[in-house]
């Protein structure tokens, strides 16, 4: 999957693009080639993006899990025959392992076609070339998985092999007689090409047919020397082996001629197999993560109900916790506020992931969604890999450089997620920058969310204001269980619902409650409450 101009590296990292790419990765080399060239749809390609997502969702809905798994297993087990096709098309005579690759390629196509028969959105991969190659290779099928250049390919091959077997037997017999004769004279039956004869064991002289290679005081290093009859048998064996080799090469050449004749169509089938692999991977993703097809629209918008940021949902699931799905409705750039740990960043990431999925024509992780295609999806603020900019810049400077880059790219349709931009400078100047940024983004008709803790930003920028509802009450700090238990208690008390609020709400004291929940010294937290003119909750907190 190529992100092209859709995501820069920092945004890709913040939105877990690598995770998504891995989640929809195909299983075969055929699929990998197609997958590597996959690019996001651009504004204006809404119909194509929508059609792809519909096709994926259709396959996910029609294929039951077992059949989908069977398709992917067949693809996974298919060796890459593209190199063999290319070599044969250039006139090379392939090796037998290549014919097995080709045979399995044909078998995999037959298997996936059989599994996909009647499924809407799945076109048969097999074509005349695949059928012709399969027929040509069929005599070589050996057992369930193997290939052998069998006699059935050619009568001449069978005859030459029979002659080789006869010549080999003749030579073996002649050699056996030579070994037996020498063995009788030496009084032993175990020696190979080179062997040692102990002088003490030698009865008389060295037997005829034995050549001494090296003499030592106690032994002789010897080799067997064949007589003329055995050498003649060896010559006949070698001649028969040469003739059999010629016959085998002739069969290979004939098979390669078939591959060469149909090379273009076989290549087309390989591409189709790859596309099916990519489709099956996306369908498996859709089924596994309960994704739905977004309504892809032409005007700037991103709206969804029940949206989920899948990497976090999986992480929470591993801990036995559930992700609280969220609803968002955007048509321009709005402000998002809410308490710490209230899910502002996750909301931004959910928006980004859904927009990215839609851009690649994938069903999105939401119950319902409506989105446009964006030219660029940009993340600014916490969570991007600011270290890419080096260590000489301050956090604020890095943010500014990132913002400058995004604005300079001047994408015609931009979706932007801004997570606490300018949080590390003075609140007064930070707020001024955020308000100015909002104004600029709205001028450019960008769509997105600006998450901030700064009060009054939405009002001053004239932007819509969304807020996380936040804590339903102040959670009791668990007596045991450490950080994980505290986080679970927090999650149970947090209302992650995102709602549009009419005006800037008054700041709450959720941050102090959170500090107490996470075990910060009670005296320190109490002092903070007093500075706000508020009363601290009783020690230990309350439900």
């Amino acid at each position: 999957m190529k992100t092209e101009s859709l995501l820069d590296a920092a945004s890709a990292q913040a939105l877990a693009f690598a995770w998504l790419a891995n989640a929809v990765r195909p299983v075969s080399e055929y699929g990998e080639r197609v997958f590597a060239d996959l690019r996001p749809f651009k504004p204006g390609e809404e119909a194509a993006a929508s059609a792809r997502a519909q096709r994926i969702a259709g396959v996910a809905a029609t294929f039951d899990s077992a059949r989908l798994d069977a398709v992917r297993d067949a693809l996974r087990g298919a060796p890459d025959a593209v190199g063999a096709i290319a070599r044969a098309s250039m006139g090379d005579v392939l090796a037998d392992a290549n014919f097995l690759e080709l045979q399995r390629f044909c078998d995999a196509i037959a298997r996936v076609d059989s599994l996909g028969a009647g499924v809407p959105g799945i076109e048969p991969v097999a074509n005349d070339a695949v059928r012709a190659a399969g027929r040509a290779l069929e005599p070589g099928r050996s057992g369930k998985f193997g290939f052998y250049l069998a006699d059935a390919f050619d009568g001449r091959l069978a005859a030459e092999r029979a002659e080789l077997a006869r010549a080999q037997a003749e030579f073996d017999a002649a050699r056996g007689r030579a070994y037996a004769k020498v063995g009788r004279q030496l009084g032993r039956d175990d020696f190979g090409e080179e062997f040692i004869v102990m002088r003490a064991d030698l009865r008389g002289s060295v037997p005829v047919g034995v050549r001494v290679l090296r003499e030592a005081p106690t032994y002789l290093l010897c080799a067997l020397e064949f007589d003329s009859a055995t050498l003649a048998a060896l010559e006949r064996r070698d001649a028969a082996a040469d003739a059999a080799a010629v016959a085998e090469e002739a069969v290979r050449a004939a098979l390669c001629a078939v591959v060469r004749r149909y090379a273009a169509q076989l290549d087309a089938a390989a591409v189709a197999l790859g596309e099916l692999d990519v489709l099956a991977a996306a369908a498996a993703f859709t089924r596994k993560h309960r994704c739905s097809v977004a309504d892809v629209v032409g005007e700037p918008a991103l709206a969804f109900e029940g949206g989920r940021f899948l990497p976090l949902e999986i992480e929470l699931g591993a801990e036995g916790r559930a992700f609280a799905p969220i609803d968002v409705e955007l048509h321009d750039t709005a402000v998002l506020t809410g308490p710490n740990m209230g899910g502002k960043s996750v909301c931004l990431r959910t928006c980004g992931l859904i927009a990215v999925c839609a851009a690649f024509g994938l069903p999105v992780p939401a119950d319902r969604a409506r989105t446009s295609l964006f030219e660029e999806i940009a993340w600014l603020g916490i969570g991007s890999d600011e270290d890419q900019l080096g260590g000489l810049l301050s956090s604020f400077a890095k943010e500014v450089v990132r913002l400058r880059e995004v604005l300079e790219r001047d994408a015609a349709r931009l979706f932007v997620m801004v997570d606490e931009f300018a949080r590390t400078t003075t609140p007064l100047e930070g707020k001024a920058l955020v308000v100015a940024l909002l104004e600029r983004l709205r001028e450019r008709a960008a769509c997105g969310l600006v998450a901030t803790h700064l009060a009054g930003v939405a009002r001053e920028a004239g932007a819509r204001h969304f807020a996380v509802r936040g804590l339903r009450g102040i959670p009791r700090r668990p007596p045991a269980g450490g950080l994980q238990a505290a986080l679970a208690a927090l999650a149970a008390s947090m209302d992650y619902t995102i709602a549009e609020v009419g005006d800037d709400a008054a700041a709450g004291t959720d941050a102090l409650a959170l500090a107490a929940l996470l075990g910060l010294d009670a005296g320190l937290v109490g002092a903070a409450y007093r500075h706000l003119g508020a009363e601290a909750p009783p020690p230990g907190g309350q439900e």
């Binding site: 090796a95 392992a97 998985f145 080789l164 040692i196 090296r214 030592a216 080799a245 085998e248 090469e249």
Partner: protein, 296 residues
């Protein structure tokens, strides 16, 4: 006597389904031993699988272009070797393709249909060889591996037998060759540790420095390594460590025999004296693969 058959009988008596042939160096008769055991296994009527850690059966030595012993494999034998090492003729039956890589390209499993000389080029890594041996075992009654010591330990379990080969090519004198065989066998035959007894577990290799530290500390507990190849000691250091420390392992190996090749390219040893010395030093049944006899 038939040396291959004698070794094969020892392996069968030990209940081994796999036989690994390892050597103290190059050109010490490993391939000749492998060939002898292979011939015996094939003659017994069993389905034989064979492979090599690295390269084996090539016509000439890649290092010095000297001729090497070759492997003539008979119909029905299953092999794991590099695609590029398969002879084009006579054609073999290609059983399966593997994603494992060897020094000569990807690995294939093949069955010999017509007898021919074969070059075996197996996976160089322990994990790769484990996979290849498992695949051979699924297709053969007995599997023979021309191995490298460091890879063998990761593969050889209770159902495996090891044959150690030594020869004149790997040492300057007969005594050096005998010492090398003794040290290797001593290392490979380290006993299993006693779980009821106190032990010091060594993470990784037992090096001379670690052994010296343990000796200096008068360590009397069992010194436990994962398998014998984790004992990175040789020569006098090895002898000293084995005499002073109770070295044990978690996964012991089963060494069944030694073979000797008294003729080397640069020197030769007196065959019977060499075989007898190795037998005395190792306590193993010892065979001279060139003289075709067992040490008296």
């Amino acid at each position: 006597m038939r040396v291959g058959l004698a070794i094969f009988d020892l392996a069968r008596a030990a209940g081994a389904a796999s036989i690994f042939v390892v050597g103290i160096g190059k050109n010490v008769g490993k391939t000749v031993t492998t060939r002898a055991v292979y011939e015996a296994a094939h003659a017994s009527g069993l389905r034989v699988g064979i492979t090599s850690v690295g390269r084996d059966g090539e016509a000439v030595d890649a290092g010095d272009a000297q001729p090497k012993p070759r492997l003539f494999l008979r119909p029905g034998t299953t092999i794991a070797t590099a695609r590029e090492a398969l002879p084009r003729s006579p054609a073999a039956e290609i059983l399966d393709l593997s994603s494992l890589q060897t020094a000569a390209g990807p690995l294939v499993y093949a069955r010999v249909r017509h007898g021919a000389f074969y070059e075996l080029v197996g996976p160089p890594t322990a994990s790769g060889m484990r996979e290849a041996v498992a695949a051979l075992r699924s297709r053969a009654d007995v599997t023979i591996v021309d191995g490298a010591i460091d890879r063998v330990a990761a593969l050889a379990g209770g159902e495996s037998a090891i044959v150690v080969a030594g020869g004149a090519s790997a040492a300057g004198t007969m005594q050096e060759a005998v010492d090398a065989m003794r040290a290797l066998v001593e290392r490979l035959t380290v006993a299993r540790y006693d779980p009821r007894d106190d032990a010091v577990r060594i993470d990784g290799a037992l090096t001379p420095a670690r052994a010296a530290g343990l000796i200096g500390a008068h360590e009397s507990r069992q010194i436990v390594v994962r398998d014998p190849t984790q004992i990175a000691l040789a020569g006098k250091a090895a002898s000293h460590a084995f005499a002073r420390l109770r070295i044990r392992c978690e996964r012991p190996l089963h060494v069944i025999a030694a073979t000797v090749a008294s003729i080397g390219r640069e020197r030769t040893f007196e065959p019977r004296a060499f075989a007898r010395a190795v037998a005395d030093a190792t306590g193993l049944p010892t065979f001279d693969v060139y003289a075709g006899e067992r040490a008296a």
